[in-house]
Symmetry: C2
Amino acid sequence: MRWDIIELLFFAYRDFVGDADHELEAFGFGRAHHRVLHFVHRYPGLKVADLLDVLRITKQSLGRVLKQLLDEGYIVQKTGNNDRRQRLLFATAKGEALVAKLAGLQTDRINRALGDISPEGTDTVRQFLRAMIDHDDPDKVLETILKPGPATAKEQA
Amino acid sequence: MRWDIIELLFFAYRDFVGDADHELEAFGFGRAHHRVLHFVHRYPGLKVADLLDVLRITKQSLGRVLKQLLDEGYIVQKTGNNDRRQRLLFATAKGEALVAKLAGLQTDRINRALGDISPEGTDTVRQFLRAMIDHDDPDKVLETILKPGPATAKEQA
DNA sequence: CAAGATACGTCAATATGGCTGACATAATTT
DNA sequence: AAATTATGTCAGCCATATTGACGTATCTTG
């Protein structure tokens, strides 16, 4: 049994999301809002259906959170060009600012953790995390992440 | 920004806990039960207060799930020797069996993920996860985990 | 063109797992 | 004897998830 790694994952993830959780409180948002905003920002033009695949929640659950983000101007919708039923999602400047703030906190933690680790070690960590993910039925976003080569995601800052 | 690692952590953890989630459904339990049972099994004789520190939830929240685990015979309480106010917690055989089943699923995933990674690489992964954890105010369990050297936790199987 | 499928939104009800505040009891400490 | 500590419990609230049903606009297909 890999007790050590099981527990390390638990604590590492707890503290990792804890960074963002604190900041989110000030905005009256929860983790759900963060996840939605994050993926919309990273994959601009994401459809509602894509988001449901990625987050693995129901449309009803997403609806509530998404509505708030739309109402408060963190996200905007645009009707799809090819298919006008689709509502493509984009983060506004306001939304981008919040995502950047939250990702900054998490990036700081990651950089601290990688401080004593070589570039090769960092690749090993990345390789491990990738391999922990189910590969059988990747959705659109996961495909992008798992696919090696040039990122299709929003340009890296 | 470490967008890649942020997202890999999200997906990796999602699928990692997903393994156990499915199994837990069959027992009518949720993630909360798993966490409690896991730590009680791993650190036998844990006090209620310790558990609250580790899980970072309130005593009322813990109360509900703990009561179920006690009622259904997955955990037993024993009065503390030195301090008779304390209720020391222990997993029963039934509890151990469930923990083992769940940890087995997660261990399988970890082993798969470490498949192509050398022993040194595995240490790097461990080092990274450790360094992701807050070290400022470690509780009793975290101390054990973060402390190098012989484990004080339940003997490794 | 009509029928059906699809993308999305929404209403209603429910469950889980967090939370706060208040209060009770037993045991230990001062 | 009084205060503190460890635990339990009651009552209610909130966030986030669920299922099922239904509505509407739009695209696709026979």
